[in-house]
Symmetry: C2
Subunit: 218 residues, 2 copies
DNA sequence: GTAGACTGTTGAACACGTTCAAATGCTCGG
DNA sequence: CCGAGCATTTGAACGTGTTCAACAGTCTAC
């Protein structure tokens, strides 16, 4: 019975997200998730092979919220620096409610081989969605970078995004103020580098960076 | 009895490192550590407040081994790119025996607030030692970077080092071949950027980077 | 030398993530 | 309608990291 299957699954995810918000990741026990979802512990494990896997739902949701928040801000802007800026700030805003347990969560995700790692196959859809957003950020900007570099730029901007996330996770400042400052400082550097990428002196550098990204991707 | 205290502590660290090597981090139980060290479980917790904390010993040892391996290679070299290269390759060599459990370990270390985080106060000595090594890497090279930038370069190179470590943790290739490739591709980029840092067009960029590092450091 | 305090040590007990054999419900060919 | 096969569900049980009340050993002050 597929409908029932879906209902049970959804109930478990919903209960988990609620509890994560209420008590954080560590503070949430599988027994509590099962109880709130109205199922047995074993049943939760029938659908999710580990506690870690329960947060994939949160993962997907965050990407969607980020997009929903960023797109309206992007409309009408053509300057790359400002497009990048609103996109990164939108992420910080979208992630805000999860700050407390995000640390633990991202630590889990940082584990190699973990399905929650942003580089894992399982996270492929969420990763692609995120990279695509940066593709749109670039598409709407009046820029004219080195063409070779241009092809890798969405992925490069996504890597910048990951860097911001990494910083955010460690950021304990009120309202993630330091992360916002980091964004404000980083964005002009990146925008300037992209603008300069056509300069003859920097051409070889651009090529090296392109090679590097391709190596990273396999 | 300070001597006994030290002896017990050492026995626990030693047992832990042995077992980590034999069975990995996850495969090592606190009960096994305590048994091999000839103490009770509770006693192990008297000295180390968690299993995670047991790996601080490994941390310190690795930094020392890295230095010991890098210094002889550095002697006689004056080209920055090659000095950077041998230093990073030396780290990969030093870390090789711990590849299997390093993933779990670094995941723990990536957790904000965790004493094992490279940014934590507890890891201060190991961090300083590592940054100092890069200070020496720079000191022995014939380079002439923007002076403002020069002051932040050791820390910047250490950040590059962290990036390599992060990649290495996820690298499953034979003999960490991909990480070595990454180093070979990254080092020329960094060396070129430093060389170019005096160029007028790049001056403002250098300043922005310096500001950024200072922000990161608090 | 002894009382008291402090340091070091013990192992049973706890809460948790996870597993698994067994029970229950569901589907579909006959 | 039956029953065989499959999907779903259960909760007790296991092994783990961690805690804690109790005990033992050592030092200090008198």
């Amino acid at each position: 019975m597929t409908a029932a299957r879906g209902r049970t699954r959804d109930a478990i995810v919903e209960a988990a997200l609620e509890l994560f918000r209420e008590r954080g990741f560590e503070g949430t026990t599988m027994r509590a998730v099962a109880e709130r979802a109205g199922v047995s512990v074993g049943n939760a494990y029938y659908y999710f092979s580990s506690k870690d896997e329960l947060v994939q739902g949160f993962y997907d949701q965050l990407v969607a919220e980020h997009r929903a928040l960023a797109l309206p801000e992007l409309a009408g802007r053509t300057d790359l620096a400002s497009r990048l800026s609103v996109t990164l700030h939108a992420w910080i805003t979208a992630a805000e409610p999860y700050r407390e347990f995000a640390g633990r969560f991202f630590a889990v995700a940082a584990q190699p081989g973990n399905p929650l790692s942003p580089f894992s196959p399982e996270a492929g859809p969420a990763r692609t969605a995120s990279i695509d957003l940066y593709r749109e950020v670039l598409a709407g900007a009046r820029i004219d970078p080195d063409p070779e570099l241009a092809r890798e730029l969405p992925e490069l901007l996504w890597l910048q995004h990951l860097g911001v996330v990494l910083f955010w996770v460690h950021d304990r400042s009120e309202g993630a103020a330091r992360t916002r400052l980091l964004v404000d400082r980083t964005v002009p550097i990146v925008a300037r580098l992209i603008r300069l990428s056509r300069m003859p002196v920097l051409r070889p550098l651009g090529r090296q960076v392109v090679d590097l990204v391709r190596l990273l991707r396999d």
